[in-house]
Subunit: 439 residues, 2 copies
């Protein structure tokens, strides 16, 4: 019988994060301030602690994970490396399909990996409260738990339509003591302005970011926390790929294809960055970022400087972007509805070290259904994009007869996304043909 | 840093189930038919395959797990043995609190352990369809997945109030291709009779069992499947305790106290039965079954023969029972709302080998909240009873200074029970003082 779960012991899990900035063939373009000049650390000090700003700018290859962060991550790490033998058989592919399952965290996704670290560093810096935004609620839940663990208060601005449609994510945040506010709200100038102009708006991530940043910038004891995009977030997620490498080493296997879904880019980065040195050293390794057709920053965006939020409160980052005013269609993969792509992921794409694919929603749900029926796990709509791509590559292998080792990141479970599956089963899901016309 | 998750490799997990019937100090009382005489295997043949009837009556100590069942269980087994160090610290107890987390199965609870086996044996016997009942939906989901895996159709009669209140469990069953019907229904004589008498009934597990049994008994190609109570179900769940023993052996620890919540008794049995030989051999081992105050079969029921369902279609079993007509109050732990206790568990209680405690709902949610805040995991309302008891024992240890090793079964997650947590957080949960007056 095939082994289908490879477990590491806790003393085998990585104790350092890997920083891909150390190995980039050319340096990352710096973030720009309002004067079009590179910002220094001071420009971020109003909303981030010095330790995270240092990580954001660091080019050290390895950064130690503090003991208290490791200890909290031990609540769910290591996650198993799974092998989807039942899916392989159903496809009739000679490929072996591996997956790293991050849905085992208490909050159901990879987001807890960085939430834990960010809460720790902010608590160390003497902050009392963190603010953030959330769309589908995975990130807000993750930060809620992490803040509770390190004694911080947590204020989550949740996109209004999600706040109304996903009350259980709100309950989850409340279990861990966080305050969850429908955005736009009357708490901030940004929110009040939008409410005055568009009282019936369904909200957006860009608006919620503006509110959370303003809240943090205008309160001395509060900082802001972002769940993706920034360099230090990518860094914290590398435990995923490092664990995967250790598990592969244990069974003497090397992956040939790496796949992750990509919205802001953090679960993708977490899986693939630790493999970039292998690729740079000449290993034949295909790396695929999968984004939704409805929000295709890598495949249809421009590589240029843009704001991270709608209002324009953040520094500008060099990234593939659909424009900071772009509001993606309301696909179910709420966590992938972001106009830009992490600068580190964008740089690797621009250098040709990774490739990108855009997938339609219905096909992704078909893939997720096939995965649920063969492997049992009901995936998050975001993760369904990675499953779609993994199945497509496995079917290519079937056509060519190549027994490739495919690894994808199953970034989260879909237990709080059952309305999406309900809509799929009812035949109500539609694909959007031309989301970005005019961008 | 303390190790907080002990993993077995897949080649270390048990390949045999343990049958406690082999080690009982006195034999189990046989099930009785309508003529008050012990039934033979034939009496069960209309709804169960011969292989399961054989297991039901077996006194062999070890029974091999068929390879195809193991292979499906590999989708989530082994489950880690966790240690709740953060909870220990919050309590300030010298006790060590271990837990076996069964919420890692794709269906979110231990129920998949027996669902897989039952679907396999029925498929082997040439059946085309399985029928069952479900309350909260954990069991229905588990059987839905298992039936899909072995090519069987699945018909689930879901208690009407749950069908309406928990639409996401229904979606989950539909993902795996099961038909989920609100009970009472017009599909069966049992259902039609109750609908005619009480058109506005909220339904009950006893009614749903009557419908599922009737459906199976009146269709040649269909069998019935029960998620708890019966001997073969307890048998299939012993993988939990066997894995726990193997994990403890790996770290050189012996548990002093074993705890499981008990409705029909299967997750409790699965955890503790493999430890019964140790207790019989003289080891000082305290074993506690925790039931809801609102449905206290072990602590307030009578040890006598009773039916398994409301209508009286099943053989009568010797068990602690509140009477087969007893309808428990609508507590959130729907999986514990059963009038009787498994005959094997009842026998061990009657022999004094295990003890029982009844816990109030609010106190159980308080314990679950403390667990979620310290260990992250949001437990099922059923499992919260085990957490409550584990915390109570740990606090006793604090008072006495004894560093006992406590192991409880965390039988499932609460991702589909967030309305219960919502009610708790809103202060809307009430305890019932005298659920069984007049029994």
């Amino acid at each position: 019988m095939e082994t289908t779960r490879i477990f590491l012991d806790q003393d085998e899990i990585p104790r350092r994060w890997y920083n891909v900035a150390a190995d980039l063939p050319e340096p990352l373009d710096p973030p720009l301030g309002p004067d079009d000049k590179p910002i220094g650390p001071d420009a971020l000090a109003a909303i981030f602690p010095a330790s995270l700003i240092e990580q954001e700018m660091s080019t050290d290859r390895w950064i130690d994970i503090p003991e208290p962060v490791l200890e909290k991550m031990y609540l769910w790490r290591p996650s198993a490396l799974g092998r989807a033998v039942h899916l392989e058989r159903a496809l009739g592919t000679p490929a072996r399909i591996y997956f790293k399952y991050e849905g085992v965290s208490p909050t159901g996704s990879h987001k807890s990996n960085t939430a834990t670290a960010q809460a720790y560093y902010n608590a160390q810096a003497g902050l009392k409260r963190l603010t953030t935004e959330t769309g589908a609620g995975q990130w807000g839940s993750a930060l809620a738990l992490a803040c509770h663990q390190f004694g911080l208060e947590c204020t989550v601005y949740m996109v209004r339509c999600s706040y109304q449609q996903k009350p259980f994510r709100k309950v989850m945040m409340q279990i861990w003591g966080a305050e969850c506010i429908s955005s736009p709200s009357d708490r901030t100038n940004s929110g009040r302005k939008i409410l005055a102009e568009q009282p019936d708006t369904s909200g957006s991530l860009g608006i919620a970011i503006s509110e959370a940043v303003e809240d943090a910038a205008t309160h001395d004891d509060a900082n802001y926390s972002l769940g993706s995009v920034l360099n230090h977030v990518m860094l914290h997620q590398t435990v995923i790929g490092l664990e995967a490498k250790a598990a592969f080493a244990k069974i003497g296997v090397q992956p040939d294809v790496l796949i992750g879904c990509a919205g802001g880019g953090s679960n993708f980065a977490g899986l693939v960055f630790p493999f970039i040195p292998d690729k740079l050293a000449g290993r034949d390794l295909r790396i695929i970022a999968v984004e939704p057709w409805a929000c295709p920053s890598l495949t249809q965006g421009r590589y240029e400087y843009d704001f991270g939020d709608v209002v324009g409160l953040t520094p500008r980052l060099k990234m593939y972007t659909l424009g900071h005013a772009f509001i993606p269609p309301a696909i179910h993969a709420g966590g992938l509805r972001y106009h830009g792509m992490a600068p580190l992921v964008s740089k690797l794409a621009n250098l040709g070290l990774i490739e990108a694919q855009a997938k339609h929603q219905v096909g992704c749900f078909e893939a997720a259904m096939q995965f649920a029926k063969t492997e049992g796990i009901i995936a998050a709509p975001e993760s369904s994009h990675a499953i779609r791509a993994a199945i497509d590559v496995a079917l290519e292998c079937k056509a060519t007869g190549e027994p490739k080792n495919i690894l994808f990141n199953l970034s989260g479970h879909g237990h709080f996304d059952m309305t999406a599956y309900q809509a799929y089963l009812a035949g109500e899901l539609k694909d959007i043909e031309n989301a970005v016309i005019g961008v």
